[in-house]
């Protein structure tokens, strides 16, 4: 494994370079069109990483995370309205409140949804998302219904408008990554992977599967809810179909699958590749809905050609090359399969 994954100082160096580059984006690119793409890309990095904690580590595919995204946005907007907080930096301090409220919702949904497994779970999460959307629409007194909900208007103007949001989104993405990294290394994370591989066996060896699954679900949902809160403040105005959009839920899933399900960096890579592409398509072909066709085509090509995602595919490729160098070509075929087995769980 040490041969496959590069040494620790190199990894931390690469990580530091990536973080510094990400921090410098608003310095180099000042025009709002570019920083807008940066905001959404950082947003999806966070969303995909958060989703991966449940979908990737635990293997429970949720197509309903848009519910938590929209709920976070609504909860945040309502909290700000009730406390009478004006636009500026102050609202950012209340993002964790939106996260805490999302935890409550995730507890309820998770408790019901996690009674099911596999295909049924996927379906139940879809149904739950539409339930939350209907609630947002029907509780007119609270949410404003179809008329939507307004946020305090941020005071920033021109080129600077996107910058605070970019750093806020980036911070959330880094928090999500840190949580994902920590879970991946903890005993809890091992339990989640055991559930993914075989839940009944995991139960048999003493993994408290139900509690673990529910915890992963809640952690994942809370992060998504907080990112949704930032999103609501960024766009300053939300309505049900817009905040709880099935397309958001499925985009996250596609990003994770493209990058590599269950890996630490896969979701990041998937988001960085797909979100700018998606924005570009929507910008150029959005009016005709033809962009959905392009999007679907990308989607199909990715899944049919690379079902395991970029990170696992590339890792096993590197592993194969390294092995060939180490043991000579004659043994390459046999050791390639070995590497595959060893490499797969590596983040």
């Amino acid at each position: 494994m040490t041969r496959v994954v590069t040494s620790t100082p190199v990894k931390f160096g690469a990580l530091a370079v990536a973080v510094v580059l990400a921090l410098l984006v608003p310095v180099f690119a000042t025009d709002p069109a570019t920083t807008n793409i940066a905001v959404f890309t950082a947003m999806y990095v966070g969303l995909a990483t958060a989703w991966n904690i449940m979908g990737g580590y635990t293997g429970y595919i949720s197509l309903g995370h848009a519910a938590f995204f929209g709920f976070g946005a609504y909860a945040f907007g309502l909290v700000l309205a009730h406390l009478g907080i004006a636009g500026g930096y102050e609202p950012f301090l209340f993002v964790p409140v939106a996260g805490a409220l999302t935890v409550v919702l995730a507890l309820g949904i998770g408790w019901v949804a996690l009674r099911t497994r596999a295909a049924t779970f996927v379906i139940v999460t879809i149904a739950m998302m539409f339930m939350v959307q209907l609630l947002a629409e029907n509780l007119v007194g609270l949410t404003g219904g179809g008329a939507g909900l307004s946020f305090p208007v941020p005071p920033w103007t021109g080129d600077f408008y996107n910058t605070p949001f970019y750093y806020a989104m980036l911070l959330m993405a880094l928090v999500a990554l840190a949580v994902s990294w920590w879970i991946r290394r903890s005993k809890f994370g091992l339990g989640l992977l055991a559930i993914r591989d075989d839940e009944d066996k995991a139960l048999a060896v003493g993994v408290p599967a139900h509690g673990y699954k529910l915890t992963a679900f809640i952690v994942s949902a809370a992060l998504v809810g907080m990112i949704g809160a930032l999103y609501g403040y960024y766009v300053t105005y939300i309505y049900p179909q817009f905040a709880i959009d099935p397309l958001i839920g499925i985009s996250i899933v596609l990003m994770v699958f493209l990058g590599g399900l269950g890996t630490l960096w896969g979701p990041v890579l998937g988001a960085v590749i797909l979100e700018p592409a998606q924005l570009w398509l929507a910008y150029n072909f959005g009016a005709s809905r033809l962009y959905l066709v392009f999007y679907a085509a990308v989607f199909l090509v990715v899944i049919i050609l690379m079902p395991r995602g970029i990170v696992p595919s590339v890792t096993s490729l590197i592993g194969r090359v390294n092995n060939r160098r180490a043991v000579g070509p004659s043994d390459a075929a046999g050791s390639a399969t070995d590497t595959h087995v060893i490499v797969e769980p590596a983040p």
Binding site: R115, T116, R117, A119, I123, L134, L292, Y295, L300, I304
Partner: protein
């Protein structure tokens, strides 16, 4: 009281359409163990095909147009299965959800491009004409639609339980590997079953399109209901899908009268939650060791 009675009658009549659409979905799940998230979009595609034939020079009646659209959609289904479902090897259940979701998005995009995003409805004389019964009026279209759905469902049951091909389908549903061992060509059965499921979606689309106005984005609402129904009935159970559909639609229509129309769809999902809490495997489902 008349209003509630009316709601129940309409629940049964519209439930028939949902039963037909959900049967296709649950048949596909049963044979291939995949969730066809594109089913709602295929229903809408079927409705648009009939819409195009109706508004073409020929003015083909929506019910008559099924003679053209059902075979066409059968072929679409077989092609989709061969092109996108068959290549999936590992992790099929999860990947199939994504693939069929992509198919749904592609269909939505294409329909939006061709037919624009305005709401349309299939029209015919029997859509507006009605007859009185038990103190209220029922439009003929509901009765005709219900009749069509019952006829097609009866056809599916005959196919499944009275023909050798049906036996092959049921064998594949029970145990894919064992079916293969006794000589069933499961790849062929899967492709044809997918085709049958999609063809029934076309029939459902015609009735849906005559009773509801629709646009290319209507499939989201539709698929969430259909998936809820098949989970309620138990995945892979035809009987469960039919009973689930009719029960759900009755509850929805009664809730619309008793509580409020805006909460009707919500009642739909509340039933799902209650059933899952009491019986996670659905009404007719078997508790299986599922792995994703």
């Amino acid at each position: 009281m008349t209003l509630i009675l009316e709601a129940v009658v309409f629940g049964v009549l519209t439930g028939g359409v949902y039963a037909l659409m959900a049967s296709g979905l649950t048949l596909i799940f049963g044979v291939m163990r995949i969730i066809n998230v594109g089913h709602g979009a295929l229903v809408i595609l079927g409705a648009y095909l009939s819409f195009a034939l109706l508004n073409s020079g020929a003015h083909i009646d929506p019910f008559v147009s099924l003679l053209i659209t059902m075979p066409a959609m059968f072929i679409v289904g077989v092609v989709l299965q061969v092109a996108f479902i068959r290549p999936l090897k590992e992790d099929r259940e999860a990947l199939s959800v994504l693939v069929t979701y992509a198919v749904a998005l592609g269909i939505e995009g294409l329909l939006g491009f061709i037919f624009t995003n305005n709401f349309v409805q299939l029209s015919a004389w029997y859509e507006t004409a009605s007859f009185p019964i038990l103190g209220f009026h029922i439009a003929y279209v509901y009765v005709f639609g219900f009749g069509l759905c019952v006829a097609i469902l009866a056809g599916i049951f005959l196919l499944l339980y009275r023909t050798p091909f049906g036996a092959a389908i049921r064998a594949t549903m029970l145990n894919r590997t064992a079916a293969q061992l006794v000589g069933v060509n499961v790849d062929r059965v899967s492709a044809l079953a997918f085709g049958i499921g999609v063809a029934t979606a076309a029939a459902g689309g015609v009735v849906f399109g005559m009773t509801t106005s629709f646009d290319p984005g209507s499939h989201y609402d539709l698929i969430s209901r259909l998936l809820t129904i098949i989970v309620l009935g138990g995945l892979g159970s035809l009987r469960g899908a039919i009973i689930g559909a009719i029960a759900m639609l009755i509850v929805e229509d009664v809730a619309a009268v008793v509580i409020s129309p805006v909460w009707a769809s919500f009642a739909f999902f509340v039933i799902l939650v209650v059933v899952l809490v009491v019986r996670p495997q659905g009404l007719y489902g078997i508790r299986v060791r599922e792995r994703i």
